[in-house]
């Protein structure tokens, strides 16, 4: 039936979903979130489900197990697993299938492992409940799977508690847990989204191995096309609870039929033209900063870089590399033990409380999570108006005028004045946060992972907005991110951090062209590309290098 799978062997059909509708409860009414989706899955096949948040991809993934989250219900359609209808099956019947025949790998392993029990007890829970194995056999199986998934110390790691294991390792331990009963189907729900690129590649490799070796089928849910390209045979693009397009992976990637798919593909290819270097005095100069948290070792060692007016410096690195700590030193939350921060050539006091109001005004911050960065009980006009009153206090009329002006700058309008944050989308909330930063008329804006909580298309809009604002207002940006596609799209200069040190720094194109520092190389080569052979290629080159 498909060119990839040999036509003479009729593939075993595991799962067929037809006309699936799922409703969610909103303000006391049931509203459709998935509006009639068909999908099927054969043994040995990986189906990629892709779409932005709210597209219904996780909901569909869970529905494949006959599960609907609190406040949702599977209202219509059929979910047929090997001849069994799961949609209206009683809980007792579903318990026999869940975890045993159809297993689930969640987005955040750190949150999805029970903090009170050891990994091995959680691994063994389902096989023991189904009397498939004894505890001893389960331990042996776990060790075997941990080895196959390249976990360090496979014999001992199971006896640790979740908090004693790193995020990437936990994610692999969760894949192992899903494999415990040799299920027919595994649902992967964004299993690498919360990971660094360098860790993501390990988990992707592990998943690919597992599906190949155990001949099971998988549904892989993600918002990242490049990731899904590495694993899937078929891809289904979802939007607003409907299927936009479905087809073979290569067809979707090379020749998408729908504009929406094409837009998704285009996002990662956005590149900023690097502005020519400027000769003037830097706006911000960080010189030989060493800093650490109370009673802990230093998290930053001799960090130095500069930010110029009208230019963007991106600080990149994986989690724990110290990039957020740099921002905390600059803003005065984490006083440095050595080194100095200069603003416009003037020394800044390390302590926030010793800095005067006007200096504070000149640096503003935009945060990662717009949801928690705004007060849910304040209206948009209060959120944006507050810094104006705090720094300038020009009187009510003038504040209103400024707020309207700012709303226009962030491409919103006066209709938003009286709305509460809960009435805004994620992208709109982030725009309001940008307006709040602009309200102080800053010279430097520190952006801490401002797009990582947003969908790709929305993130792209935000990046464009930030760029336009930079050109109009000649501000300097310090952009903290772990996403190299974002760096390409916005940065003029790049600072690469690793374990609290700057390992490479300079204009973006210099840093991105070889020869690289070893870590930069690792980071750059770990960013997934659309090419479906990318993962195999990278692993091959890495093996050659170590050989």
């Amino acid at each position: 039936m498909t060119p990839d799978i040999k036509p003479e062997i009729k593939p075993e059909r595991l799962l067929t979903i037809t006309g699936l509708e799922i409703e969610g409860r909103q303000d006391g009414k049931w509203k459709k979130v998935v509006k009639g989706v068909d999908l099927h899955l054969n043994r040995g096949e990986v189906l990629g489900l892709i779409g932005e948040s709210g597209a219904g991809k996780s909901t569909i993934g869970l529905a494949a197990m006959g599960y609907a989250r609190e406040g949702c219900r599977l209202s219509a359609g059929n979910i047929n697993y090997l001849g069994k209808e799961l949609r209206q099956a009683p809980e007792s019947e579903l318990e026999q299938i869940r975890g045993y025949k159809i297993a689930y790998v969640a987005q955040s392993a750190a949150a999805s492992f029970n903090p009170s029990h050891k990994l091995i007890t959680q691994f063994a829970e389902t096989p023991l409940a189904h009397k498939m194995m004894t505890m001893e056999q389960a331990k042996a199986k776990a060790e075997d799977l941990y080895t196959k998934l390249f976990l360090p110390d496979p014999a001992g790691i199971g006896f640790r508690y979740p908090h004693q294991v790193s995020g990437g390792q936990l994610q692999r331990a969760m894949v192992a847990m899903a494999m415990a009963c040799d299920p027919d189907i595994i649902i992967f729900d964004e299993p690498t989204t919360a990971l660094d690129v360098t860790t993501q590649i390990e988990v992707l490799t592990a998943i690919k191995e597992v599906v190949r070796k155990f001949n099971c089928a998988a549904i892989y849910i993600t918002h990242d096309l490049a990731v899904v390209a590495q694993l899937s045979h078929r891809i289904m693009v979802l939007r607003h609870g409907l299927c936009v397009e479905e087809g073979q992976a290569a067809q979707i990637l090379d020749a998408p039929k729908e504009k929406y798919t094409a837009d998704l593909l285009a996002v990662r290819r956005q590149v900023k033209d690097v502005a020519p270097p400027k000769q003037e005095e830097p706006l911000l100069r960080v010189e030989n900063i060493t800093a650490g948290y109370k009673n802990g070792p230093a998290v930053l060692h001799n960090v130095s870089f500069e930010v110029f007016r009208g230019r963007t410096v991106a600080v990149v690195g994986e989690s724990g590399s110290g990039k957020t700590s740099v921002a905390r030193v600059i803003t005065g939350f984490l006083p440095q033990t050595e080194g100095m921060v200069y603003f416009d050539g003037i020394e800044m006091s390390p302590l926030l409380k010793h800095r005067d109001k006007d200096r504070l005004r000149k640096w503003q911050m935009i945060f990662q999570m717009p949801d928690v960065a705004v007060n849910p009980r304040h209206k948009v006009k209060d959120i944006i108006g507050r810094p104006i009153r705090f720094y300038y206090n020009p009187g009510k009329k003038e504040i209103d005028r400024r707020v309207s002006e700012l709303l226009e700058m962030i491409e919103l309008n006066d209709k938003y004045l009286d709305r509460y944050p809960s009435e805004l989308s994620g992208g709109e909330k982030q725009r309001v946060c940008i307006a709040r930063a602009l309200a102080a008329q800053p010279e430097l804006i520190i952006c801490d992972e401002v797009t990582s909580a947003l969908d790709q298309l929305v993130a792209e809009e935000i990046l464009k907005l930030l760029q336009r604002l930079q050109q109009d207002l000649n501000m300097g940006y310090l952009f903290i991110t772990h996403d190299l596609a974002t760096v390409r799209a916005i940065a003029d200069d790049v600072v690469v951090m690793y374990q609290g040190r700057v390992v490479e720094h300079g204009p973006r194109d210099d840093v991105f062209t070889p020869p690289h520092h070893d870590y930069t190389e690792l980071l750059l080569s770990s960013v997934p590309e659309m090419d479906p052979n990318w993962l195999d290629r990278v692993l091959e080159t890495r093996q050659k290098k170590t050989a």
Partner: protein, 318 residues
């Protein structure tokens, strides 16, 4: 477990500091009351001369800080002084009564804590069912009634109507265990009804709070049965808030039973305290106050330690 030691030392230090502050408060509080022991002993008709003489005898004429220092010094040596009203040593008066109070509190705790937790778990398991609503409503009604009213209600039913238990709970040394239990049933039941709702609702709320965690969803997606999810996956993670409420209620069982003791004429510390306040027997009031404070502080210390122990991140550091 060695990480626990500095924590306990630190908390004990704070506990002693709190106790010191409380001793000042108790002393100052009693000083601030109108009238003094001499006045109370001699009554309204006492002449100024007699009062002066008695005050001198009881050393009430010395300045405040001197008396406080003496009292604190005696206290440190375990010397609680003599009762002002009958001259007997305070230790002797308090000792057996405190024991009685502890017996009552302990038996109420043995009944109410497991009951509350199990009922809380059942409520969480069958959330919003008729059983959950029934349990919530009935325990809440019990807590909304004043405890003396609950006590009289029980007396009406179990003493007057059915004649099952005695209405007066007097313990004598020659009583057999079965007799003692028989005597304790009603006060114990009253206390249980008063503290049950607290602990049960906290257990329910803590469990329900944990039930929305991703690891509970994961357990469901692993096909784990609902009862096992509640007991095995949710309860261990909900222990800290439950422990805190349980211990607060334990403290109340020791300290707050005055009214119940009075209703059942139970010879506990609470009754002694009430009597001594009316007699202005300051050494007894001070000693009782301090014992209650110690109980509170000790139980809170226990709660802190248990909460730490219930957290795997602290029990098994990286």
């Amino acid at each position: 477990m060695n990480f626990l030691f500095p924590v306990i030392v630190k908390r004990t230090g704070f506990a002693l500091l709190t106790l010191f502050a409380i001793s000042i408060l108790i002393f100052a509080g009693l000083e601030a009351l109108p009238g003094d022991t001499a006045q109370a002993i001699l009554g309204q008709g006492a002449t100024q001369e007699n009062l002066e003489a008695l005050r001198k005898e009881l050393k009430l004429d010395l300045p405040l800080h001197t008396r406080y220092a003496t009292w604190l010094g005696d206290l440190a040596r375990g010397e609680l002084g003599n009762s002002l009203s009958n001259g007997r040593p305070v230790t002797g008066m308090i000792g057996w009564r405190f024991e009685n109070t502890l017996v009552l509190a302990f038996s109420a705790a043995v009944v109410s804590i497991p009951l509350a937790i199990v009922l809380g778990l059942i409520c969480a398991l069958y959330q919003n069912s008729w059983l959950d609503k029934l349990l919530s409503t009935s325990t809440l009604s019990a807590i909304s009634l004043p405890e003396f009213f609950v006590a009289y209600l029980l007396i009406v039913v179990f003493v007057v109507q059915f004649e099952l238990f005695p209405s007066v709970a007097i313990l004598r040394p020659d009583m057999a265990l079965s007799e003692r239990i028989n005597v304790l049933v009603l006060p114990c039941l009253t206390l249980t009804l008063v503290v049950l709702a607290h602990m049960m609702r906290m257990t329910r709320a803590a469990i329900i709070g944990v039930l929305s965690s991703p690891y509970i969803e994961m357990a469901r997606l692993k096909g784990v049965k609902r009862a096992k999810i509640i007991f095995y996956h949710a309860l261990p993670n909900a222990l800290a808030p439950i422990i805190n409420v349980v211990v607060m209620d334990l403290a109340w069982l020791v300290v707050g039973v005055v009214v119940v003791e009075v209703v059942f004429v139970y010879p506990g510390l609470g009754q002694l305290l009430v009597d001594s306040v009316s007699k202005r027997d300051i050494p007894v009031v001070q000693a009782s106050g301090l014992i209650f404070a110690c109980t509170y502080i000790f139980l809170n210390l226990t709660a802190d330690v248990l909460s730490i122990l219930s957290n795997p991140k602290l029990r098994h550091p990286k």
